[in-house]
Amino acid sequence: MRDEIAPHVEDITRALGGKVSELEIEKELSNYVNVYRVSLDTAKRSIVKKHGGNPAHLSLGIAKTIRELVPGENSVNLLARIVSVNEKTIDSENGARTILYGILGDATATVPFTAWEPLPFEPARGDVVRVANAYTKEYRGQVQVNLGVRSVVTREAPDALPPAPVGTGGPSPAAARATPVKIVELREGSSNIAFTARVLGVERREVDVDGGKKAVFSGVIADETAKSQFSAWKDFELRDGDVLRVEGAYVKSWRGIPQVSFDERALVKKLDDGALPPMDELGRSPRMWIEDLSERGGGVDVTVRGILIDLKEGSGLVYRCPECKRVLRKGVCRIHGEVTGTPDLRVKAVLDDGSGALTAVFGKDLTEGLLDKTVEECIAQAKEAMSQEVIRDDLADLLVAQPVEARGNVTSDDYGLMMIVDQAKILKVDVREEARAMLEELEGPA
């Protein structure tokens, strides 16, 4: 015990500028930790404060494994591997700044992290890092590691951390504590979650990671609540239709859509086929409110009902750069200059369901269907009218204030949600039937 505590006693003494003797501090620290059972971190901070010092001057964090982390720790040391890392620009009081976020893992568990200050090196997936003086917080019910001004992050040799245990020995201790969630509840940055879902489709891909190629098994899974894309970084011999119980997975996001990943740290079990509804039922596109989609950041193959409130700039007949497919403005591509564009039809409309709004993008085939005209017919019509705008006007007549049901993938960015529409239909609702149901709810059955 004494050996363990000694460096912390030194740390406290240093933080107090040597005005209290080490012996006294050692006695106090041992009292806090052994008698009052206060955590070492809290004890150190209390002692420094009590003697009029500043706890920020403490420099020696407490080494922990990820599994041991709890919210509200002020100086934690970790040795971990970067499972994923992404950049994000945020608005702060001092203007836009770039932060890093991702997931850290060690042999015990994974945890989301955010680095509020630039790191001294370019971090990459797979790097082993030593983190000193990180702090933890709780976010959406999960522990999160934060790296701030006081934190020191250094890159270590790849073998400084033993490779993650190969998943033969059953669940890691972390998996035993995995948080159960439904697919609809997946949130970016969640880690160590458990779920039950059916594989709707899976395929093997090779991806480039540090030091060569790696096989990843990815596809779509679903439960009764939603669908999600997934990536399995180990061959769990997944087949289309399998019902899985996965414990110890984590969630990353792609263009805002949360998607689940799991690797050799996770426990993957195949369940009886009857554990979930059949493929065709789960394969249906769940109907969702836009407010729920914006809370999640998007969704895979969802259905939304709402009204097309407005047609956006760039709807109708457009010409695209043959090189980069960007839409030309006055025959000029932003990148490739003056080019001969290829004609295309599209609709960018605001779809609003009263709970939220998204930008719905209809491609050429859907737009041709809506207009009941081909691109060629539209070109002829525009020539005759000597304006491309006629097509846009036709679309506005057809679509503005029109209730529709649209199905597709919804992604998100700083400008909000966007649906790439797969299928759309003009919505016909039996208003009377729904009104009767509502009246019954208001007044009780007649």
Binding site: E295, I309, G354, A357, V400, Q402, G416, A435, L442, E443
Partner: protein, 293 residues
Amino acid sequence: MIREIAWRVFAGEYNDANKDVSGGGERSPSYVVTPLGAKINRLFVVGVLTDVENVATDEAPMWRARLQDPTGTYHVYAGQYQPEASAALAKLKPPAFVAVTGKSRLFTPDSGGTYTSIRPETVKVVDEGLRDYWILDACRSLKKRLEALREAYKMDPVTKEELAALGIKPPMAEGILAAVEHYGKVDLSRYSAMLAEAVRYLLPEFQPAKPEEEGSAPDTASKAADAAQEAREQTVLGIIGELDSDGKGASWDGITARAGKAGVDKDALEELINSLLDKGLIYEPILGRMKKI
């Protein structure tokens, strides 16, 4: 900038609002907060256009339109900065089913009072089907707020955290907090009645029967009385239509004179006019003039 939601809110609730909030910054959006906590920057409304006129000059027109839903009337103003909406309004002839998307506005004249209006972005003629669909949407929206407020009124004080625990999302919770702070606890029964009335508006069984739809009335006597009443209403409706030669509506005096000749006395006429107003078959574009919808 995330796009603001287009609220489906009844005129009856919107016009009760007398509170606006802005995000503070120069470019931050402003909102009109209703007593039920709808925090509105943009609205989508569908109703009957009953009246549109240029209230400014020919050179710099300002179009004022009235749009009616089952609970009240919206006031829509479009000027030179809303060229598309102005052009659309200039062309419209009431009555018509019209959909308007626009920004919320609150106006407090020096003479006192507070008035809500809509500054339109798009104006489009639609059909009755969409109007009914909209009413249903607006009912759902109102119902959701009523349910949330009933829960919120049980809290003391109302907090975002407690609202969140009930599954109320932060944007809605903000509106509720702003409403409770400004309006206090309002009488919800007024709005539940508004909701029930709007739902019934969609159901034929709650509409006064039209002659061709009759047939199952159990009592032949009352059926005959109804038919007679119906016939008199049709007469008055016909008179109003005929007298409305200039599109401004039939004058009250003209209607009284013609009705007298048709054997309808003044008291009966008033009753018939009220009934027609209730059924939404006529309206009063300006005081003392009646017009068919």
